[in-house]
């Protein structure tokens, strides 16, 4: 249970928005525009996230895993990255996608069931396809980071995953590879307390950040609802990865305010009170108060930002509503780099049948 601060966690802002570590606050390399941009990204994320949940309720998305409550963890860490850094997301990273300028309509196609992956141009946008098999993307990040090191690039990979993901073999193998092969990678764990119905206490008997000990690189726990603290540790981890080729494991302690996904009934395994108790730690509210106290929330900005958020959500809705998948034969074209004969035969059948169907209709 979170108190005003998770044990051992780095914090800059208290839940009420007051600065608890003024020195750290001052040392941040963030100007007013950065702070505003971060807040704006949090608003956009919140709006898009709520819109996606609504779209699912209306049948426009097949299923959607809300990020509600985890906005600070995602925006704080994503904001610490450079263009050249490469993001490897799980399935709950819409906030990171917002910061990275990912096409959110294409992203929602994943959840609509009209395309896999959800990322139109992973290599160009440095944002890998959405990864559902828990922890599997950890290895891709490590591989990419190793490749970047071999190329002498000044860039790192950042991989996002949950508390549950730390139980998987792939998490371990990836961390161990990264430690010994000196891969520039940041392991960013959002400990949102739950893996579907399993609380983190039943997931592992050790604090997650301490697992870094097993791989010979630093681990750090941060208050995941404090966007500035998350930014700070992420920034340091990115620098350590790029400059020293030393990975970092970041545990951002946060809370999954929504159900695991829109298909989940969380009331079966946690109480309304538990969830409500985390309302006091809302990351947007906390950051808003800071910005207010620092005089950065003039009504002009606030109106614009809120309008932007609404507009983004509306854009997602407009883009995804009723959207059609490419026809099945289109998927055949991307199984191999060239179409082998045996597949061409099958593709022809698909075209024939769907054309007939179309004509029959």
């Amino acid at each position: 249970m979170i108190r005003t601060k998770p044990d051992d966690a780095l914090q800059i802002l208290a839940p009420d928005g007051t600065v608890v570590d003024p020195q750290a606050r001052q040392a941040l390399d963030l100007g007013d525009e950065d702070l505003r941009a971060m807040y704006r990204a949090m608003l956009v994320t919140r709006a898009v996230d709520l819109e996606a949940t609504a779209l699912q309720r209306q049948g426009e998305l097949a299923v959607y895993p809300p990020v509600l409550g985890q906005e600070a963890a995602q925006i704080g860490s994503a904001y610490a990255l450079g263009e050249e850094d490469f993001v490897f997301p799980s399935y709950r990273e819409v906030g990171v996608a917002v910061v990275r300028g990912i096409d959110l309509v294409e992203y929602m196609h994943f959840h609509r069931g009209t395309r896999h992956g959800g990322i139109a141009d992973p290599l160009g946008s440095h944002f890998a396809e959405i990864s559902v098999p828990v922890s599997s993307q950890v290895l891709h990040a490590v591989g990419w980071a190793l490749g970047a090191r071999l190329d002498g690039k000044n860039a790192c990979a950042v991989v996002y995953f949950g508390d549950g993901a730390t139980s998987q073999g792939d998490f371990h193998e990836g961390c161990n590879f990264a430690g010994v092969l000196r891969c520039p990678v940041v392991f960013f764990c959002q400990n949102n307390q739950w893996a579907i119905s399993v609380p983190v206490q039943k997931q592992t008997a050790a604090p997650i950040w301490k697992k870094a000990e097993a791989y010979g690189f630093p681990g750090v726990r941060v208050d995941g609802n404090d966007v500035l603290a998350v930014y700070k540790v992420s920034r340091e981890a990115v620098a350590r990865a790029r400059e020293e080729r030393v990975p970092t494991l970041i545990e951002a302690v946060t809370y999954r305010m929504g159900p695991h996904s829109t298909a989940d009934d969380a009331s079966r395994y946690r109480s309304r009170e538990d969830v409500d108790s985390w309302q006091a730690f809302d990351p947007l509210e906390r950051f808003r108060r800071l910005l207010e106290s620092e005089g950065l929330l003039d009504p002009g900005f606030l109106n614009r930002a809120e309008a932007d958020a609404g507009a983004e959500a509306a854009k997602v809705r407009a883009g995804i509503q009723g959207a059609q998948p490419r026809p099945l034969e289109g998927f055949f074209d991307h199984t191999f780099s060239e179409m082998p004969d045996f597949l061409a035969r099958q593709r022809e059948e698909v075209v024939r049948l769907t054309t007939e169907e179309g004509e029959g209709a």
Binding site: R112, G164, I196, P325
Partner: protein
């Protein structure tokens, strides 16, 4: 007994098995309070306690390997993999140990492990949630593989799988989870390796299992409107396979189509064809054809209806074998 869904039948089977044998355990991700994402283990933990029904950490290889260890300690674990594609991290443990431990120990160790895997497509699910992995398991010597197509079969086969001293991969076709059937839920000792004739017919035979049995029945009914009587055979267990039943089908109609959701290449349909060819070639009036998923990864849900064998595709194949 009123109608039950396959979900309820499976839930009852677990209850029944846990009641008749207190060495039976249930483990997996979210099988406790949540009752599993499909509610197969609904209220089982409340009834049998947290010692016998427990959530595991999120690690499928461990779920399989730990289950083997539990079996060595004299327990009968029933492990749940949350979805088909999430059984893949456990493949190494399943192939190298669960399937082989009896053999490796020259018969000294029983392996009464059941691994339940919801499988197949057709429910509009996300990527990695609609795979049909039966061929991987069937090709692994030492495993039995069961896949019911109806609630009553699901109950009977699961009870029997849990009693089995050998490891059973128990595949549950998600598209049939909410199908209903009425009948008595008492285990009738349904033995493995006996296919079920779902529908009699003399002109041609459709062979299927799991989710495709119902689809074949639809196709057979459609064919009947044109006066073609199609037999539908539900294999129920893929290992052991009802070889005799397949040969009989060849003898009876000589025209056979096998239908499955998994990709065609090296799918279990190929085995069905090869068996029939080996054992009953002389009775074949036409090539044994396959109607299957295509040889691409399972596509996004919104196009899955064109990927999965449709009634139309089955009818076209029937026409081919009938007019050969």
């Amino acid at each position: 007994m009123p109608e039950v869904t396959m979900v309820q039948a499976l839930n009852e089977a677990l209850r029944f098995a846990m009641g008749e044998d207190d060495r039976v355990l249930v483990l997996g991700e979210d099988v406790g309070k949540l009752g599993g994402v499909f509610r197969i283990t609904d209220r089982i933990q409340a009834e049998f306690g947290e010692a016998r029904v427990f959530d595991t950490p999120l690690a499928e290889s461990a779920i399989a390997g730990v289950s083997l260890g539990l079996a060595m300690a004299g327990w009968r674990p029933v492990a749940e993999m949350q979805f088909d594609a999430f059984s893949y991290p456990a493949l190494d443990q399943v192939i190298s140990h669960v399937a082989k431990y009896r053999f490796r120990s020259v018969g000294a160790v029983d392996v009464p492990v059941v691994i339940r895997i919801p499988c197949g497509g057709g429910i509009g699910a996300a990527e990695h949630h609609s795979e049909s992995p039966e061929a991987y398991y069937v090709h692994t010597s030492g495993l039995k593989v069961a896949i019911p197509s109806t609630p009553l079969d699901a109950f009977n086969l699961l009870v029997r799988s849990i009693r089995d001293p050998d490891p059973v991969i128990f595949l549950e076709p998600k598209s049939r989870y909410w199908s209903k059937e009425s009948g008595e839920l008492s285990p009738d000792g349904l033995p493995f390796g006996r296919a079920r004739t779902v529908r009699e017919g003399s002109h041609a035979t459709l062979v299927a299992w799991g989710g495709m049995v119902a689809r074949c029945l639809q196709a057979a009914n459609a064919a009947a409107e044109d006066g073609v009587e199609v037999e539908v055979l539900d294999l129920r267990t893929l290992v052991p396979l009802d070889i005799e039943g397949l040969a009989n089908a060849a003898r009876k109609t000589g025209r056979i189509v096998v239908v499955h959701e998994a990709p065609m290449t090296a799918g279990f349909g190929a085995e069905v064809v090869a068996r029939i060819v080996e054992d009953a070639f002389e009775y074949l009036e036409a090539p044994v054809l396959r109607v299957t998923g295509y040889d691409i990864p399972y596509p996004p849900a919104k196009v899955e209806e064109h990927y999965l064998p449709s009634v139309d595709r089955i009818l076209i194949a029937l026409e081919k074998v009938l007019s050969f």
